[in-house]
Symmetry: C2
Subunit: 520 residues, 2 copies
């Protein structure tokens, strides 16, 4: 019987679920991702635990919520006290190899405090969040020494000290002039890098060459693309593949701006939102964004074809997901972070080669799943026990294997906006800029520290235009959602210095320890 | 102007606030503690953050709640990721010296994981929770090598391999026979150790000799007595100083047992509660318990007299408190842990020698304070900044110096009973046995995971006999208390790998980092 030997954990950066044809996009055909969905399970309600790269990824890599792992925003180091997937796999002598982005910020102060040499084997692994880096490249800046990409570009004739800046995210305009792709007005022009030398092509090659060299040793790989994340520069021909009419219509209306939530309002004043408020920006960025996704799909096709030919599709569990979506002007906002489905909902496809998954191939699963479920799912796929005193997610095998199981009926997401301009706009302290979202099939409730709540009825208002956070009619709903949030807070796993099994073994041990208290 | 140079942080183990005359005990005269109260501030509403030694003390030593520091019960190691008062003081080159009990459980697994030698200077300090141990003795077992007490006993003629077991907690009955003080029926007899060689006398001597040897170097000392904690064996003459009539009446009635809360009911089935359910046990234990407190007060008198003569009362901040109370049969329960004031409310007296405290000398402060306030108070007394990204308590100087300040209106306490028989009685998993209490001036609300809540009206039911946890009349109160708990959970400090100042400095730094996202 086919068994899982390897795991390929693919992540795209800032990829909206609704931008894949298997999730309903009418014009953007993601043929190869769709094919994998036909062979596996497509999760229609997969949500991230934070709408920001760093905290979302740390939840993917630790199996814990941001409130627990503590890396609540992009610049917050991942505490060395946090165990990651890489550390769990090490116990099985399996490397978690990395090709691409993790956004792990090293906890150098934590290392200094405990006198751990950051250059030692342990120190390096802790600073890398447990990943063994084939080629780490976090994107949207000139790659550093931890990536071979700059050398690769130079070797292919991109002659510059900053080849990424001058070629990869630079475009050539209609006058033949080089322009910076940092400016969204330029993204209708093609990148100055050839498609075959682009970030997406390079990282796919990196993953394939590792698979070729791996031999018989089982492997777990995180293939983590930096696209379609901004800068929205696509190489030819992808830059011009879609017209604005072939893009999803922008989701916003005037009524949203009336009595808007203070934090949403403050985000709308940030530059990315001001830019995307113009239809011209939306019409220019969305085609490029779609082009980058189409390009990604083509390279995944190339990768899957190789894996098929190498027999890897018979023994490799494949996961495709994203760290969050992209507002692209929806709700008069740019970027991400806030609690709308276009940000919080991501694609998730799991292909399990084992026979036990045959029952569900091609099925669409509508139960609610979260980023924290990925670590336990990968551990379970490799027959490893899931450390219940740390991991807060649930393994998805019951859903992938079609076993009956009682399941959660809501998911949670978090935001820490203390690093953002919004904090200054609202004149808040760095400790109070936190929000938590509870989402069920029907409702999304957002609790904001020191601000009024938000509530959306996703059944009658799927576009999330109408904030019911202060509507007295919905008091009961808000109370019920608040109760869910309270129960969730109470369930977070902080007692991490002992395992559940150790606690069970020690229950009622006083007498055995020779202490006889309470005896008459 | 007098300034704080040293800090003496005195803790008694399992000492109820209502057992001091300055807190209203009609027969037990704690003369010397009362004298200190007349020179300082007495806190009438000081509460612990857990009614159990370990988690309560870890909150005293870290300034963080059990949900944050994670050491939720006596057997749970204090994660090496937690910073303690001792580590903060080290930055000022001040040792936090220890005479007595801390209940710190070393996080050996945490040390192994990070390859830190437990015998190295760092390893030892981490394993001791940041304390420099003059003489560590955690009580209620034969002291180990970390205490000089066994050798001291042998040197004074207590000839045994287990002098503590055979003399300190052994009694001599009316037939001249030795009996074990583990059995509460024997605690009306005197200990076989002389009063001058008892635990309380020994640890007081230990503290005094350190003060004598300290010279001019500033010091911070944790003098942490193991009494009046069980075994309730008092040396003569204290064993026979009080009659049952001179003890506080037991607080319990039959009505309490009707439809009792399931967890309270399960605790009542544990041996300590079964024993204390008999009036005979109450009448025998309480006099001994009072004797131990009287003895403690006498030794504090001796200590304060020395400090006065050595001029130390002019430059030493003195704190007296306890880690929790003792049920002593109240509510048909023995021991502690549960959410009743006799467990949760402790004595707290702060004597500040500085002139800025002259305005409040002898005053009784009724605002709500918690164990987590002690770390920031000690740091502030030494003009050290309080790390706001970790410490969850507040410095008490504004109250001690009579400055106007807005203050909290509720306090929080927690319980993890997963190690207790109650878990087995209720057939619960090791991860669900948690409870949180919110206490205001008027109400105590207890949220239990997977059990109904408790609610007490402390104004109309100060003895906490009448659980309103299911009374529909109090829905609104419960909602309001639940909101407080939710707000508290949302405020806990988990983003510990960066300081608030660092976050503030990095706010809105994208452009400065050369990343120009969101620009048209």
């Amino acid at each position: 019987m086919a068994k899982v030997k390897n795991v390929l954990f693919i992540m795209a950066d800032q990829l909206r679920a609704d931008h894949l044809s298997c999730y309903g996009h009418p014009h953007l055909q993601t043929t190869h991702i769709d094919n994998l969905a036909r062979r596996g399970v497509l999760f229609e309600q997969a949500f991230v635990n934070s709408g920001v790269c760093g905290p979302s990824r740390m939840s993917y890599y630790t199996g814990r919520y941001p409130s627990t792992h503590g890396a609540t925003w992009n610049r917050v180091p991942l505490s060395i006290n946090e165990k990651t997937l890489g550390e769990y796999l090490k116990a099985r002598d399996i490397d978690l190899v990395l090709a691409g982005k993790t956004h792990v910020m090293p906890d150098n102060k934590g290392l200094d405090r405990l006198q751990i040499d950051g250059q030692s084997e342990l120190g390096v692994l802790l600073r890398q969040g447990g990943f063994v880096q084939l080629d780490r490249y976090d994107g949207h800046h000139e790659p550093g020494a931890e990536s071979g990409y700059p050398a690769y570009l130079k070797a292919h004739g991109y002659d510059s000290t900053d080849p990424w800046t001058d070629y990869v995210i630079a475009v050539e305009d209609d006058k033949g002039q080089a322009q910076s792709g940092w400016y969204m007005r330029n993204v209708n022009f093609p990148a100055r890098v050839k498609e075959e030398h682009s970030e997406t092509a390079y990282m796919t090659n990196c993953a394939m060459s590792y698979m070729q060299s791996a031999g018989d040793k089982p492997w777990v790989m995180h293939l983590s693309y930096v696209k379609p994340h901004w800068p929205y520069v696509a190489p030819a021909p992808y830059h011009a593949m879609y017209s604005p009419e072939q893009c999803l219509p922008v989701r916003r209306n005037e009524q949203e701006k009336v009595n808007a939530h203070p934090v949403v309002q403050a985000y709308r004043q940030q530059e990315e939102s001001v830019s995307f408020a113009s239809d011209e920006c939306v019409a220019r960025v969305r085609p490029a964004y779609q082009g980058l996704i189409k390009q990604l799909d083509d390279h995944l096709g190339r990768l899957f074809a190789y894996m098929e030919s190498a027999g890897l599709m018979d023994n490799t569990l494949v996961i495709i997901t994203a760290d969050h979506g992209d507002l692209l002007g929806d709700h008069w906002l740019g970027e991400k972070e806030l609690f709308y489905d276009v940000v919080q909902r991501v694609p998730l496809i799991i292909y399990d080669p084992s026979e036990s998954a045959d029952a569900t191939r091609g099925q669409r699963e509508s139960r609610l799943v979260e980023s924290v479920d990925i670590v336990p799912t990968i551990l379970a796929a490799l027959d490893m026990s899931v450390p219940a005193h740390r991991v807060e997610g649930r393994q998805l095998q019951p859903l992938v294997h079609g076993e009956s199981v009682t399941w959660r009926d809501c998911v949670f997401s978090e935001l820490d906006y203390s690093y953002r301009e919004a904090r200054l706009t609202l004149d808040k302290s760095t400790s109070e800029c936190r929000a938590w979202s509870v989402r069920t099939d029907r409702w999304r409730y957002v609790y904001w520290r020191n601000e009024r709540p938000q509530l959306f009825d996703l059944q009658n208002d799927p576009d999330e235009f109408n904030d019911l956070g202060e509507d007295p009619q919905y008091d009961e709903i808000r109370q019920e959602m608040k109760q869910r949030l309270l129960d969730w807070f109470a369930s977070l796993k902080r007692r991490t210095s002992v395992t559940e099994e150790e606690v069970a073994k020690q229950t009622h041990k006083y007498k055995q320890a020779g202490v006889f208290y309470g005896q008459w």
